[in-house]
Structure formats: structure tokens, C-alpha cells
């Protein structure tokens, strides 16, 4: 009982230390805990794989640095899968505050995979206006984004030849953290322009997307870091999400353990006080 009393009075800094270590250690030394790709993730992978090689794919990256740990890894893996299929990737950003981060990610992956800017890839940058922009893109993408992220006239880029509106793409990939994002694409674009959508969202938003997945409005779904890690597993990568997921698993088990231990300790202490 004495030990339990000690536990009940445990300084919270011990808990902080354990939490910190459980997150830090897997980042330094990956544990590669078991990961089984769930059906929505597999469906996402299949949706990208089913795109004909060499076709145009629209990728809407709607997140800012706050969602970076969750959404950056899946963005990178998606781009890698697309470049491996020699797809021509058109990137847009509708979420304020995300343009520079997205540009950095896109260019890094392009360099790593030898994709040529303007031919294999274009980043059209950020456009304010939320759903209105989505609908405008349905009329004309070159009109909605006359210049790319760096102010280049999109008419001069070889990749934009043949890009009109949603009908030019066999797939739209929406990676989003909030408003505007996947939900708005489903409501505004899917219904109106009938373009197939595959989505990656934060863990917080994932449950709200399940209805769209069930109804077939989304072909596949990556939910937060877990989804990204499973996707990396399918692509045979050991990326930041897989390592992050090791940390997630350990931390979740630890928090669950904290609830149990905290109550056991309290219970023991109470009994001792009562006696």
C-alpha cells in the first residue's frame, strides 16, 4: 500500500518525462510495430494505382504548418506514387497559410524523383475564395489560376496543355485539414462535376468522412498519421509517418495505462486512509 500511496502522489513531471521519451525514442530508433493497412487506406492506394500511367492528376493540398506532422508524410508518399506512374501532377492550395509549405514539399519530392517542373508538375499556388474557387475550377482551371505559385503564365507551361477543368483529370486527390477541404470538394465538386476523389485528412476529421466513403463519394481515405503510415507500408517505405505511428501507439497505450494506474493508486490510497 505504501507504494500505491507514492504512486498517487507522483509528481506530474515523471509522467511528462515518460511521455516525452515514449515519443522521442521511436523517432530516433524505429520500432516497426505491426501495421495492417485498413480497407480505406488500401482503397486509396488502389485508386491512385488505377489512374492510367501518364495522365494528369489534380492534387489539392489544403493544410498549413499546424497539420504538417499528420499530412506532410501522406502528401509526399502520394506524390511519389504518382511520379512513379509518370503522372502529370497539378497542385493547388485553397487553405490560407499553406502555400509556402506545400511548395517546399512538392519541390523536394520532385527533385528527389527527377520530375521536371512545368512538364511533370506544376504548383498553381494559393487562391482565396474557398468553395467559389472550387466551382470556378469546374469552369476553367487556367482562368482560375492564370499564374502559378511563382508568377509564371500557366499558358506557357507544357503540362497545362490539355488541362481545362475537372474533366481533364481521372482523379482528384484532396489532402486537407479543415475548411475549405475534402468536405467542400465532395459537396461542391463531386456532385456537380462527377470527378472521382481520394482523400487524406487529419485524424480529427477522419470520422466525419466515413459517410462519404460508404456512399462511394470518396474512393479511399487516409486518416491522420495512422493512415499515412499504413500507406507508407503499402508503398514499402519506412517514412516519418511509420516512425510517428510507433510513437503514437506507445503514447496511446501509456495514456490508457495512466487512467488505470491513476485509479488503482487512488483506490489503494483511499483504502489506506479509511483503515
Amino acid at each position: 500500500m505504501r507504494q500505491l500511496e507514492g504512486l498517487a502522489r507522483l509528481d506530474r513531471r515523471w509522467i511528462f518525462t515518460v511521455t516525452g521519451l515514449l515519443v522521442l525514442i521511436p523517432l530516433l530508433w524505429p520500432l516497426n510495430l505491426p501495421l495492417t493497412p485498413s480497407p480505406p487506406v488500401r482503397a486509396y492506394y488502389d485508386a491512385v494505382a488505377a489512374v492510367p500511367d501518364g495522365s494528369h492528376v489534380l492534387v489539392s493540398c489544403d493544410f498549413d504548418p499546424a497539420a504538417r506532422p499528420e499530412l506532410e508524410p501522406m502528401t509526399r508518399t502520394t506524390l511519389r506514387q504518382l511520379f512513379a506512374k509518370r503522372c502529370k501532377v497539378v497542385v493547388v492550395v485553397l487553405y490560407p497559410g499553406g502555400a509556402r509549405l506545400v511548395d517546399q514539399i512538392v519541390r523536394e519530392v520532385a527533385t528527389e524523383r527527377g520530375a521536371l517542373y512545368g512538364t511533370d508538375l506544376v504548383n498553381l499556388g494559393f487562391k482565396a475564395g474557398n468553395e467559389a474557387v472550387m466551382v470556378l475550377m469546374g469552369q476553367s482551371i487556367p482562368n482560375t489560376f492564370p499564374r502559378d505559385q511563382n508568377g509564371l503564365d500557366v499558358g506557357t507551361l507544357p503540362i497545362m496543355r490539355g488541362v481545362r477543368n475537372y474533366s481533364s483529370f481521372p482523379l482528384l486527390v484532396s489532402i486537407s485539414t479543415g475548411y475549405p477541404g475534402t468536405k467542400e470538394y465532395v459537396q461542391q465538386v463531386q456532385g456537380r462535376f462527377h470527378i472521382p476523389i481520394a482523400a487524406g485528412v487529419t485524424a480529427v476529421a477522419a470520422p466525419t468522412m466515413y459517410p462519404y466513403l460508404q456512399s462511394g463519394q470518396l474512393l479511399g481515405l487516409l486518416g491522420g498519421m495512422a493512415g499515412a503510415a499504413e500507406y507508407e507500408r503499402l508503398m514499402h517505405e519506412s517514412g516519418p509517418a511509420s516512425r510517428g505511428m510507433d510513437a503514437q501507439s506507445l503514447a496511446h497505450v501509456f495514456v490508457a495505462l495512466c487512467i488505470v494506474l491513476g485509479n488503482v493508486a487512488q483506490w489503494g490510497w483511499k483504502r489506506r486512509e479509511g483503515a
Partner: protein, 224 residues
Amino acid sequence: MSLHPSHDLGVWVAAALTLCIFSFLYKDNPFYKFAEHLFVGVSAGYYLVLSFWTVLVANLWDPLLAAFSGSHGSPVAVRLGDYRAFLLLPALLGVLLFSRFVPRVSWLARWSLALIIGAYAGLKTTGFAQGDFVAQVQGSIQPLWTGQWGTSLNACIFTAGLLATLLFFYFSREHKGALGGASKAGMYFLMVSFGAGYGYTVMSRISLLIGRLQFLLYDWLGLR
């Protein structure tokens, strides 16, 4: 693994400030106090600059200038939705806010508050009526029998939970008898929902910590 610390001064500043904030975990200390006060100062300054350029200049000064320089026709063409010249009124009310620094006339600031409160109370009342009241009620209406046992049961549980929880918020009667039973059930639904909310937030919180640690390890220390 090897270290390649960043050569960018900005990254070092960001890393140092991150560590100052994290030091609060040990206890309140001078480093945290420094970061805390810097943060408050810089963020208040940022909001000030932001509202100066994006509201006071863009939405007030520019339209007023255009209105009185006569560059776009008459300054008061309300019929056409052009009320630029009237923007003098909010400008005046904005200045009246500063009457609070002079106790004798500080009541003048109430006129400005009256405008703000009236406008937002009206907007929010109808905004909530549509988005959180009618739309949520509409979204809750679903067939209780779908031809499938599983989904039908879920629909019934959902409807029962919704109505019971709503009755938990019934204030003008003692929670006894049938109402007591319903509100008790509502309480249980609330508790399950809070537990689920807690459990499901854990993931995004840990992700944020991972993000910060990745910044320190990879961007700052250059661990490879």
C-alpha cells in the same frame, strides 16, 4: 546517425524559443517567463498590424479615399450598393472607443459597443438558427428501419440518444419520473461522448508533439 546542425539563424531562434516553452514542463522559470512575455508582445503586435492593414486601410481608408477623390462616381450611391461615404460613421464610432481613456466621457464608447453587439447578436441568432438548429434537426431525421438489422439498430440508438440528451437540458421541471429516466440516459450518452472525445483527441495532440520533436531533431540538429 550523425548530426548536421542548421546554419540558419532563424532555425536556432525557433529552436531556442521552443525549448524555452518546453521548460515550463519542469516548472515555471525565467526562460519560460521570457518566452511568455515575448509571445504576448509579438502576437498582440501582429494582430494590431494585421487589423491595421487588412481592415482599417483596406476596408475603411481606401474606400473613403476613393469616395471623396471622386474617382468612382458619386460617393453615395446606396441604390447601387455603394455606401462608401457612410463609412465615416464606423470611423467615428471607432474613435469613440478611445473615449475610455477619458473617464468623464467614457460613456460615449457604449454607442460603439451598441453597434457591435446589435450587429453580431442579430447575425449569430439567425446563423445558429440555420446552421446549428434547423440543419442539425434536419440531419437527425432518418428512417428507423432500413431493411437491415445493424443500421436500423444504430438509427434507433442514435435517435434515442439525441432525444434523451436533449431532455437532459430541460430546465423548467424537476428531473423525476420519466423525465428523470430520460435525462439520466442522456447523461450516460454525454459521458460516452466525452470519453470518446478524450480518446480521440489524444492522437492529434501526440502528432503535434511529434511534429515539434521532428523539427528539433531534423531541422535544427540535422539528425540523419
